[in-house]
Symmetry: C2
Subunit: 504 residues, 2 copies
């Protein structure tokens, strides 16, 4: 590295072990932590806090804190604290198996918030007082500015709003990340807000550093642990078919003159389907693409490397170990073409709408009329959360929702008569894609949407069941605008809960 | 009036009777008509078109057109065309009883669209070709510019996008409306969009005129009929109690330092509850208020008159006959404090978010977890549509949803275990108010929301039933994040359809 990570002499005097920093977090505190999709979360203090909580519990005085983050983190944060029963309330997004189990058992409270809304909700004071900010950075400059690490998330807001700040300086992160970030300090509470001056995905409108008065920093902890970095898995057949339908559609839209030849800025979630789409874009006819999205995953990095993607804006990396090594070795080479921003800007409705983002997000289930459930299994069990899908889909130029047509080896149909929870309403859903095909719902009244979705997206095993429901609803529904048999609209979910399968 | 309404000599030569103009609309055409909440809709040509359709139908060659508007219109437009079975497809909003009946009978197609989205959907080409624009104005200047009338709606987009334009010049509208409107011509399709330079509700960022090349104008029709103008009704007791809870909350938020003393820009729907809220604001402690909303109804006008409201921005008037007379007699006096804009700007997510609007909208039903149904009765019958409620609520500083706790003389509870259709998801709902009380859902996980909604908003007749459902769901739901008994979640609606009442 050849560079001192904590270059500020004043802040070097605040370096302490993780246990000492964890002791600064009082019982009942609201703690704003860094971390977004397994990148840039604090790696030592949460573990020390979990130990402290476990010891307190063993001694008969359990305590809990509320944990606010950017999005999902990792076992060292969510997993350890949930395991210790140390989390009172969690927001705005998680994907941790231990947390999920505790939430669904009613043992942990969870608020599932649009990722773009968190910063303003906290600033407005609607979520209560923020006691502590716990933020990972990749370094501290001589004059005390903080160089962000592999995610930005809500760090600016946590540092601004918290009473005291704990900084983890992670030497695993590349020193060459310095200059890659863009922290916009121009937001305000109304009536003092002004336009956000961002008109292209790569625009830089802020400073590369997080700013914090040194006297507010209560402790600095040094770490050297890697980000979570799940291994990359090759797209499966269903994902490749979903990607194929989507790419054919995009080519068609370009041919019709409804999209520019280099498309519009891409937003893509993570996972198998997203990887397949990004792979497909790399192999396809498109050039000079841009991305305005939440996370830069392996597929995006590949497109940047090949030059298919000219620039990518996000709030975090979400990389496999191999790709993380590549970034750590070559951050300087990517610095001109990658911008990491606060999530209030990466996901801001104003900017998403202005840029005309093509939003591509996975789902749990869709119904005949195009309503989307992104969060709940069988209406009551939270899976992960809405994340940024609403931020992007609601204001997208075209909103795509992607899913295999079945789950659990065919026991669950992703297309149901009525979804058991709604995260994206019929008003916000443009295109639905499964491995079976693509339904373009733009400009279609509800009954026509149902026709498209049954014919093009449903799995053949469930198509006759959907058709049967639809035909009987057309005949018997009291309203024919959105025909439903209200007594059996959720019958497929009921059947699954009773028998383990949605099949009749 | 003392002023020639069609001052352009070139366009005076295009004046024709309504029947001749209606003959320019071909069968199967997509027609973009003016009109928003019963204001500024064309008053002669739709009636002539309906006659032509009826005659054709009687002669054995029926035809239909698709009707796109700003929002709801009046019997002379929606009523007459629906009665003649002349509408193939209707968007983006309607509240006409004849249309509603035909839509729910499956005889007319209807797409229920966010009002801010319509202009871009058309411009993007996602809804097909716009054949004819049919737009009411209050006058035409000597050089051919069009002076809008009592609504702006989507008129700019219709005129820009249509192949030919028919103009109705209505001499009932005040000539002094000239200068009151602000038509922003700075929108673009991505990737060419730039920030909308509007930072305060009263900012003027465009021109007072609609611009149309004269050669595109195929016909000019002169009319003199008043807008629909439903009479004003005094708020009932339930509405006054809803308003009381809301005003108490606002005072509390100011006292807590979470709202400025003059609040933030108000958005309010129409109807009895909205009138009660506006009356209450007039009687309350607030001064120097502003409005950034869709419509200016009697209550807003009253607040402007008394000086409580310093400026109001909207896209249309929606006035009683008495208030319409007042505007017609005194438009010049209001011109500095009222701005009517295109609905893509009045409802624009970018601007709504920036200004920090306080969004207040009525609903059909809410559920225990704060999901809102604004559009469908018993899951299948459309009532009116989502209108602008999503535009405002989704990006509001605080989103309020207001409803009496029961409907149909108590046979329907507005608070149900699970809503039968979702227009606003749990992620977007801040505050729910009924005459029983107010539930502040900000920062609450789902089970806590249920507790608040049952205790504070439900009608006492239904509270024990809700409590029973909630307790059994807490005990038996497979997921305890959003506890539901999926087999009976829609049971209240089923019971109503079977028995005419949601009571057990």
């Amino acid at each position: 590295m050849g560079k001192m990570r904590v270059a500020s002499a004043e802040l070097r005097r605040k370096v302490v072990p993780a246990d000492a920093a964890a002791a600064l977090i009082p019982a009942g505190a609201n703690v704003g932590m860094s971390g977004f999709t397994g990148a840039g979360y604090p790696k030592a203090v949460p573990l020390a806090l979990a130990r402290r909580i476990s010891e307190a519990t063993a001694a008969g005085t359990p305590f809990r804190v509320s944990v606010w983050t950017g999005a999902s983190t990792a076992p060292e944060l969510d997993g350890a604290l949930a395991e210790a029963d140390g989390i009172e309330l969690r927001l705005p997004y998680q994907s941790d198996p231990v947390s999920r189990r505790k939430i669904n058992a009613g043992l942990m409270e969870y608020i599932d918030v649009h990722l773009s809304h968190v910063a303003q909700l906290v600033w407005e004071g609607f979520l209560g007082h923020l006691d502590v900010a716990l933020v990972e950075v990749s370094g501290i400059t001589e004059d005390g500015r903080l160089v962000p690490s592999s995610s930005v998330g809500n760090n600016k807001t946590w540092i601004d709003q918290a009473e005291r700040v704990i900084v983890e300086v992670n030497s695993w992160q590349s020193t060459e990340l310095e200059g890659l970030h863009d922290i916009y300090y121009g937001t305000a509470l109304p009536p003092h807000r002004v336009p956000i001056p961002l008109a292209r995905p790569g625009d830089r409108i802020g400073t590369p550093y997080l700013v914090c008065p040194p006297e507010k920093i209560a402790a600095v902890v040094e770490t050297d642990r890697p980000d979570r970095n799940s291994p990359f898995t090759e797209p499966d057949d269903a994902s490749r078919r979903i990607a194929g339908h989507l790419l054919e559609f995009l080519e068609h839209e370009v041919a019709r003159g409804r999209l520019p030849a280099n498309l519009l800025p891409l937003q893509s979630g993570v996972g198998n389907v997203a990887n397949a789409v990004l792979n497909g874009l790399g192999a396809g006819p498109f050039e000079n693409l841009t991305a305005y999205t939440e996370v830069i995953q392996d597929g995006m990095l590949g497109l940047l490397r090949s030059g298919t993607l000219s620039v990518a804006s996000a709030t975090a990396f979400s990389l496999s170990p191999v790709a993380a090594e590549e970034i750590n070795a070559n951050a300087a080479a990517y610095r001109d073409r990658i911008v990491l921003r606060p999530q209030e800007i990466s996901n801001h409705p104003e900017v998403v709408r202005r840029l005309g983002v093509l939003a591509m997000n996975g789902i749990i289930e869709a119904d005949l009329y195009g309503n989307i459930n992104s969060t709940h299994l069988m209406g009551s069990q939270i899976q992960n959360g809405i994340g940024g899908s609403g931020d992007f889909a609601r204001n997208a130029y075209i909103s795509f929702f992607l899913t295999p047509s079945t789950a659990k080896a065919g026991a669950i149909s992703s297309i149901v008569p009525m979804v058991s929870h709604v995260d994206h309403t019929e008003h916000d859903v443009h295109v639905l894609v499964t491995e079976q095909g693509l339904a373009d719902l733009r400009g279609l009244a509800p009954r026509r949407r149902a026709r498209q979705i049954i014919d093009r997206c449903a799995h053949p095993d469930y198509r006759p069941l959907l058709e049967d429901y639809h035909q009987r609803a057309l005949a018997e529904s009291p309203g024919k605008h959105t025909p439903h048999l209200i007594g059996e609209a959720l019958g497929w979910h009921e059947r699954y809960l009773a028998t383990g399968s949605m099949r009749a």
